[in-house]
Amino acid sequence: MKKSVAIIGGGIAGCAIARVLSKYDLDIHLIEKEADVGWGATKANTSIIHPGHEEDAAIHPLRAKFCVEGNRIWRKWAEEMDIPVSWPGELMIALDDGGMETLEHYLKLGEKNGVEGLEIMGREEIKKLEPNVNENAIAALWAPAAGLIEPWEACIALAENAADNGAKMHLNTEVKGIAVGDGKLRGLETNRGFMKVDVAINAAGLFADEISGMAGIDDFKICPRKGQYYLFSDDAMPKVKRIVHMTPTEKTKGVYAVTTVEGNLMLGPTAEDLDFDEKEERSTTEEGLDYIWENARKFLASLPPRNKVSKMFAGLRPEPPDGKYIIRAYESPWGFVNVAGIRSPGLTAAPSIAEYVAKLMEEKLDLRMAEKEGWNPFRKGMKRFSRLSDSEKQHLINRNPQYGNVVCMCKEVTEGEVVEAIERIRKLGAGITMDSIKFRTLAMFGECQGSFCRSRIASIISREAGIPLWQVSLKGDGTEYGIGDIKVLQRREKDEG
């Protein structure tokens, strides 16, 4: 019989693993507690595909290897799976002599790691690459291999491709316990019942320590490290042409300025260590945002007005002890694999991590990894109406007039796209929520942040999913759009009085 493999966690790591393992003759199950994939660390980060010159292979050999390899694999994956990426390259800016030394340091690290095209340059050359750099910049390390990706879309693409190749998706499913017997993994206890599996791969991000503990391996803790961001509206100027940041410190790569794949200026992150029990603490703070602003000013020539912001948000990095990735298949309990503490540059590293995990399964767990026939590496992304040519637009509308009904005016998203997103969400077995539509269509992502179109999107969901409008949720249970029909409170008052 086919071996069954459960992947716990539908972040970038879990989804990449699901995609890679879907090549083999295995019974794959991806288990995710949220209503959709990619809602953990994966949706809120700087979205950089790092080149790998910032990883010290002497201290973090795995991280360095995965980062450099991941950068290469993403190029292929992005093409196969229609994932929006851009390759603007990155400038690490030095403002003083100390900074100069740092540049030399990273140049050496990069060369050791096999990163191509690195070059230290002076002010004149920097200006040519990035007009918006501060006058105080004395030099920069140029890394042309750096790219940007739309991280949630990457995660959705991997999950869709894995599902297309037979992987089963279990959204809204939380692992609550792990059954072990005779030194072997027996199965998973979830809020939806028991699941018998032969292998479980723990890719639970911030909660990987808890999952590991359930399997009896409790020798590490994952610490949340918060990163806050400013995201600016489409017309906020000036943007940056390259990924720009200052020389990093011990703790963090520092504040970055990027123009996202979507074309918006983004500044951040902070690096704030939280307590172990603050794994849901994603609030933004005035201090954090001020820190970003002050730091961005140091290396940029000018910033847009602060009220041109379209969103402030924060994500949590899953920090392992000493920053070391914990990727390991255990003898006891046999069948349990940790892919834990996937901190930065985890987004970059995910494809390479996934391939490494496939190898571990063969080498450490002695699984027969037979490639199955007919595996399909390709996946088509959603049609984004606003980016099509006139004739493509007309063609779509002829097929389905819903593509001629614009519902989100800022991002010009049509009813047809919302309905297509709903079909895709259904196919994954994900929850039909406003956020799962937002991440697929970019509706509610624009200048008005959904104040015009949220009610329209909600009514399409209500119609398609057959639930009352007020029950449509932003991101799952407890985040419903309303509390009932308009007279609900008056009825309650009457009942109580």
Partner: protein, 422 residues
């Protein structure tokens, strides 16, 4: 719309394409039709009538019709006229882009369920209204949870879809929209905990403070701002602070209010995305286009009116501006648009003033806002010794000055100022 008429639309050149079927757009379309122009109205939403269609309270039409109507009543009257004059109106017709091909030709790209189409028009009346400011751009930090609505969104939910957003509410902003929404929530049995206002005085009309807050016992917290929203999944509370004269939070003045809903009535911003792409001149104080007395922008033949031009206190002003734009478009097509313009400048205590240029050849209405409130104020154009006394002026209430043709004849420029009358 059917495919055949779509191709007809393509070959035809309209005198005026109206973008946005709200009060400004419809009033402009009706006026243009009355002047014999061939007009088409393009409305992105599912019906024409604009924002007033969701405002079930009275307060509309006092100036335009001399009657106090509800929002839908106001819009219905315009819609009636649109029908009578036989103006072509397309709904679900979203304007994607505007191209100013030459001074007598504009192309408007439209997406409709019938297909995409290009409309050719000699003039454009851009009347796409405004968008509401959201929590991020007014600097509110904290958690990103459900239960946060703009006032307009909450109103749409309640009065279009028949849904109750929440049961305990904090309103941010005490302009008329905030005040009216406070009452709207209270009428449905919600516990409105407070209306929070950064300024030391309410932004809306005194009448509304009494009828919407005092009559319902809703507290108004002036000189306060909401700094944070806190909650796990839905709003659980807001943190507010007192502010000093420069609107900075005063240390240790923070307090909390438990609530499950935040409604933001923190101002509107003209919705000019499509015009911005066309590269017209923008006034940084109105955040809308720079216009002459016919509401014509810096691109000849492109007119703008209503909240897309500047945020108006009353729908009546939006409608008037639409009419002025139609009159201008008519002159433009006839080749009679004046060419000599005199600037109107901002003087003491004036935050914004428009139109920005006048011809001096006819009576015009000037709209303005002050920076600071003044009691017993004198609003004046010193160059022509025109003086209007007002008992009180507030930033939240537009000042209207009617200039007569003979008053402005022969001037080079005018400056509006507002001083203490004592």
């Amino acid at each position: 719309m059917k495919a055949e008429s779509s191709s007809k639309m393509k070959s035809r050149t309209y005198d005026m394409a109206v973008i946005g079927g709200g009060a400004a757009g419809l009033a402009g379309a009706v006026k243009a039709a009355e002047l014999g122009m061939d007009v088409v109205v393009l409305e992105s939403g599912e019906r024409i009538g604009g924002i007033p269609m969701q405002c079930i309270h009275p307060g509309f039409g006092n100036f335009y019709y001399g009657e106090n109507l509800t929002g839908p009543e106001f819009s219905e009257r315009l819609i009636e006229k649109v029908k009578l004059t036989g103006i072509k109106c397309y709904t679900h017709a979203h304007v994607e882009g505007i191209r100013h091909v030459s001074d007598t030709e504009n192309m408007v790209s439209v997406v409709m369920p019938a297909g995409i189409t290009q409309i050719r028009a000699k003039t454009i009346l851009y009347a796409a209204g405004a968008r509401e400011r959201h929590a991020y751009e007014i600097g509110i930090t904290g958690d990103r949870v459900s239960g946060v609505y703009t006032a307009g969104e909450a109103q749409t939910l309640m009065d279009i879809y028949g849904i109750m957003p929440g049961k305990s509410v904090v309103i941010i902003g005490s302009g008329d929209i905030g005040l009216i929404m406070a009452r709207r929530f209270a009428l449905e049995g919600a516990d409105v905990k407070a209306v929070v206002e950064m300024l030391p005085y309410p932004g809306g009309l005194q009448r509304n403070v009494v009828q919407c807050l005092e009559d319902f016992g809703i507290p108004l917290l002036t000189s306060h701002m909401v700094t944070r929203i806190v909650g796990k999944k839905r709003v659980e509370r807001v943190i507010l602070a007192e502010v000093d004269e420069s609107f900075r939070a005063i240390k240790n003045s923070e307090k909390e209010i438990d609530c499950d809903t935040v409604a933001l009535a923190a101002g509107l911003v003209p919705n000019i995305g499509k015009l911005r792409e066309a590269d017209i001149d923008i006034d940084s104080s109105t955040k809308g286009p720079v216009v002459n007395e016919y509401m014509e922008t810096s691109l000849p033949g492109i007119f703008v009116a209503g909240n897309a031009l500047a945020i108006n206190d009353y729908v009546d002003y939006a409608a008037e501006q639409g009419e002025q734009a139609a009159i201008g478009a008519h002159l433009f097509i006839e080749g009679n648009m004046p060419s000599d313009w005199k600037p109107i400048r901002k003087g003491e205590n004036i935050r914004l003033v428009f139109p920005h240029h006048i011809s001096g050849g006819r009576d015009v209405k000037i709209y303005a806002r002050v920076k600071k409130p003044v009691r017993d104020a004198v609003v004046e154009f010193p160059e022509i010794d025109k003086r209007v006394r007002k008992r009180a002026v507030m930033p939240g209430e537009m000042i209207i000055v009617n200039l007569k043709k003979q008053e402005t004849a022969g001037i080079d420029e005018l400056t509006l100022r507002c001083a203490d009358g004592n």
